[in-house]
């Protein structure tokens, strides 16, 4: 690591330390504190220090003030011996955790704002380019950007997830901790007693439920030979049964109102005249789903025989599932970011969000907690226009700019800026 970069990180670390010294007591305190494993990632060193145990928040705070780490983690699990090697820890249970990350949502904006740059000549490269065309260097930094669209998309997935947890799983929001990840997503940790002992396989089933994977539409009576109407999904049904009915209605409504995204998606498989007709079924569907009206065999664009019903239902599943990271949910030994600590990829707070304020939350304003002062000069390699703390910045391209400390920290953490000498 060169000296400028070191100096820049040290600057950010100083801001982190000041924050923990002033605000440390706001750090989230998971239950059974002394049975948790903790870990942190220092600045300047890409090695996780883990298998730590603290008897109370004060002990942890002491370390945070001393080390001012880049990232702080805690186990979702509770252990008999948190400091022992994994096999000897004595697993006693684990919260049910969920991770929603905009990066996994395959959003079109990703292509627009992510970039790579060459470490030696600072040439800006496309995200898939791994060798600099300018100087042939293979030393590349990848920068993943986050925009308002990313955060909104992640929040939509979060809202869907919460509707599953509350409606389908009957979990009490009082027993959930919802947090902004501090970067581009959200975390949910459920600490209801009943779910702590769920094993890996059970968690896998839960993850598959939420992502609708291996959902068999025949189990809901929707095959070519439809079950009798009273046994088919209706709006008032609980679980996926009701969700399938409601989302299918939603699709019909979108077609009816000429929603291009939906229509284009359906055009990939269904002939145009079918789509037109579907829009007109909306009225028939207003009281109760009329599944038989959708049950039509047709030919796809590629000439394959398909059933219109199954095309619509699989789109319905796509819109109503929540795209959680299933690997996280099924890992019963996972470390997750400790809520209300700073995320070293942005300098933003991974802050706790109240259940009833999710829709109003503006993470890029609310969780910009580092101070504005001092203003510092930074060399910015590249940055698309972005909004932080309610103000617009950029776009920047290989220029020196004077910025408030928290904005400079954001760009340094993103590895697209260093302090100017």
């Amino acid at each position: 690591m060169n000296n400028d970069k070191k100096r820049s990180l040290e600057f950010v670390r100083g801001l982190f330390r000041n924050y923990y010294e002033a605000m440390g007591n706001k750090i989230y305190q998971p239950s059974k504190f002394e049975n948790r494993e903790f870990g942190y990632m220092p600045f300047h060193q890409k090695i996780m220090i883990r298998h730590l145990r603290f008897r109370n928040l004060d002990e942890l705070l002491k370390v945070l003030k001393r080390e001012a780490p880049m990232h702080v983690y805690r186990s979702a699990a509770i252990y008999h011996l948190p400091t022992a090697p994994m096999e000897e820890k004595g697993w006693l249970g684990a919260e049910l955790i969920f991770d929603i990350d905009a990066d996994h949502l395959e959003l079109p904006c990703k292509k627009e704002h992510d970039f790579n740059y060459c470490n030696s000549c600072f040439e800006i490269l496309k995200p898939d380019e791994e060798i600099c065309m300018n100087c042939n260097s293979g030393e590349i930094t990848e920068v993943e950007w986050v925009c308002g669209k990313c955060i909104t998309a992640a929040r939509d997935e979060l809202l869907k997830l919460l509707s599953f947890l509350e409606g389908d799983f009957g979990l009490n929001p009082d027993n959930m901790t919802i947090t902004f990840s501090g970067n581009r997503g959200y975390h949910v940790a459920v600490h209801e007693d009943k779910i702590l002992r769920l094993n890996r396989e059970a968690r896998q089933e839960i993850a598959e439920y939420i992502t609708a994977s291996h959902l068999d539409i025949k189990a809901y009576g929707l095959s070519e030979n439809l079950r009798p109407l009273h046994d088919l999904p209706d709006y008032i049904d609980p679980g996926w049964k009701g969700r399938i009915a409601k989302s299918t209605y939603q699709i019909l409504a979108r077609i009816n109102s000429g929603d291009e995204e939906t229509i284009n998606k359906l055009k990939e498989t269904l002939p145009e005249e079918n789509i037109q007709n579907l829009g007109e079924l909306l009225y028939e569907w207003s009281e109760k789903p009329q599944w038989s009206l959708l049950n039509l065999k047709t030919h796809s664009r590629g000439g394959k025989r398909i059933n219109q019903l199954s095309v619509l239902v699989s789109l319905a599943l796509q819109i109503s599932r929540s795209q959680i990271d299933t690997v996280v949910t099924t890992d019963i030994h996972r470390l997750l970011r400790l809520a209300n600590t700073l995320n070293g990829k942005t300098g933003l707070l991974a802050g706790v969000i109240k259940y009833d304020s999710i829709e109003d939350i503006e993470p890029f304003e609310q969780f910009l907690v580092l101070p504005k002062t001092p203003e510092v000069k930074v060399k910015v390699v590249n940055a698309p226009e972005f909004q932080l703390g309610g103000r617009r910045y950029g776009p920047y391209s290989r220029e020196v700019v004077k910025l408030p400390a928290n904005i400079a920290a954001y760009l340094i953490c993103k590895e697209t800026a260093i302090l100017a000498s």
């Binding site: 598959e208 609708a212 291996h214």
Partner: protein, 350 residues
């Protein structure tokens, strides 16, 4: 008659001894082990021994043909059967006996007067198995909490038991009667096994020693046959597609994740490869370090660390890590790569 009717419960207890604490149960008959040494008890002893032997040798098939109400003789010999399993001090024997018993009970449930089945299942689920369960209206007579449901349903193969194919309503999964019976059977298996373990050690009295010896032999035979089956090496062309692909990538020097390496090694160990053979395969890797590799393989094989041999990860886990080939379409609905069998004489499994 409802589940709270004392007469009803008492009768239930007689037919289902596992519904009580085992020691209490044995005690409740006023029978001590020595009583079985008395002349005239040979028939009961033989009954008890053969019940265990049948379970060890034939597994759940041993429970076929039962199902009618147990005879007096069966009831009286029962405590001895349980004591004999405890004397074997073998977890394999315990598990096998529990499986057979759970199967037998679920057959008995089916024979109960139809008007009472719902109440019996409810009683067993709630009072014995401690499930969070509610009665509801047909066709879904039961609603059980998803945590209880998942505990037992994850072992079931059929897609209709997957949570994603069930209705979930505020934490509860509605179940039809036969589905509830399946869940209860699985739960009973675990419950009985736990109960058997809780008896602890029982020293073998002299008069029973030959019988215990006979059971041990049955157990050994069974185990020997099972390991023989596993040891018979599986030729490469009969490996499941995921394992073939992992091997191919390894040999081609392509990147294989840590999990991929673990999976392949665990598979090879479980189909009977020796450490040396596996090492040879891994020696193809650019970053091969014999010392580390040997340690890891021996660890997976249970020769180091905690001493438990790792089984091959399930198809599901392999799928989660993106190593499954064609979502298992080539494998005929197996749950673990070890279950993969190429059709005899066939070329490719379709």
């Amino acid at each position: 008659m409802t589940y709270s009717d004392p007469y009803f419960i008492e009768r239930l207890m007689m037919e289902f001894p596992f519904l009580q604490q085992m020691r209490e149960y044995i005690g409740s008959f006023g029978i001590r082990l020595e009583d079985f040494a008395e002349p005239g008890m040979e028939r009961l002893v033989e009954k008890a021994v053969s019940r265990v032997e049948q379970a060890l040798v034939h597994g759940v098939r041993a429970s076929y043909g039962t199902g009618a109400k147990p005879s007096e003789e069966e009831i009286l010999s029962y405590p001895l059967s349980i004591a004999l399993v405890a004397m074997l001090e073998d977890s394999y024997a315990t598990r096998r006996f529990a499986t057979v018993e759970a199967e037998r009970y679920s057959r008995l449930f089916e024979k109960i007067d139809p008007g009472n089945v719902r109440d019996v299942l409810y009683f067993v689920a709630r009072e014995v198995l401690r499930m969070d369960v509610k009665l509801s209206n047909p066709p879904y007579e039961f609603r059980i909490h998803f945590t209880d449901y998942l505990r037992y349903s994850v072992k079931l193969n059929e897609p209709r038991f997957k949570l994603v194919n069930r209705i979930m309503d505020r934490g509860y999964v509605p179940l039809r009667r036969p589905e509830m019976l399946t869940i209860i059977k699985n739960a009973l298996e675990e419950y009985i096994e736990e109960r058997l373990r809780s008896i602890g050690r029982i020293p073998t009295p002299d008069f029973l020693k030959p019988h215990v010896e006979r059971l041990r032999n049955a157990l050994e035979t069974r185990r020997w046959r099972e390991t023989e089956q596993a040891r018979s090496k599986i030729p490469l062309e009969s490996w499941p597609p995921c394992m073939q692909a992992l091997r191919q990538r390894l040999l081609a020097g392509e990147h294989v994740s840590h999990f991929g390496n673990f999976t392949l090694a665990a598979y090879l160990i479980n189909i009977g490869w020796e450490t040396e053979q596996i090492l040879q395969l891994y020696a193809q890797r650019g970053d091969f370090d014999e010392r580390i590799a040997r340690y890891q393989i021996e660890h997976i094989a249970g020769k180091r660390g905690g001493g438990t041999r790792y089984t091959t990860p399930s198809c599901r886990t392999i799928q989660t890590h993106g190593l499954c080939i064609e979502e298992g379409r080539l494998c005929g609905g197996i749950k673990n790569p070890l279950q993969y069998r190429r059709k005899p004489g066939g070329k490719e499994k379709r």
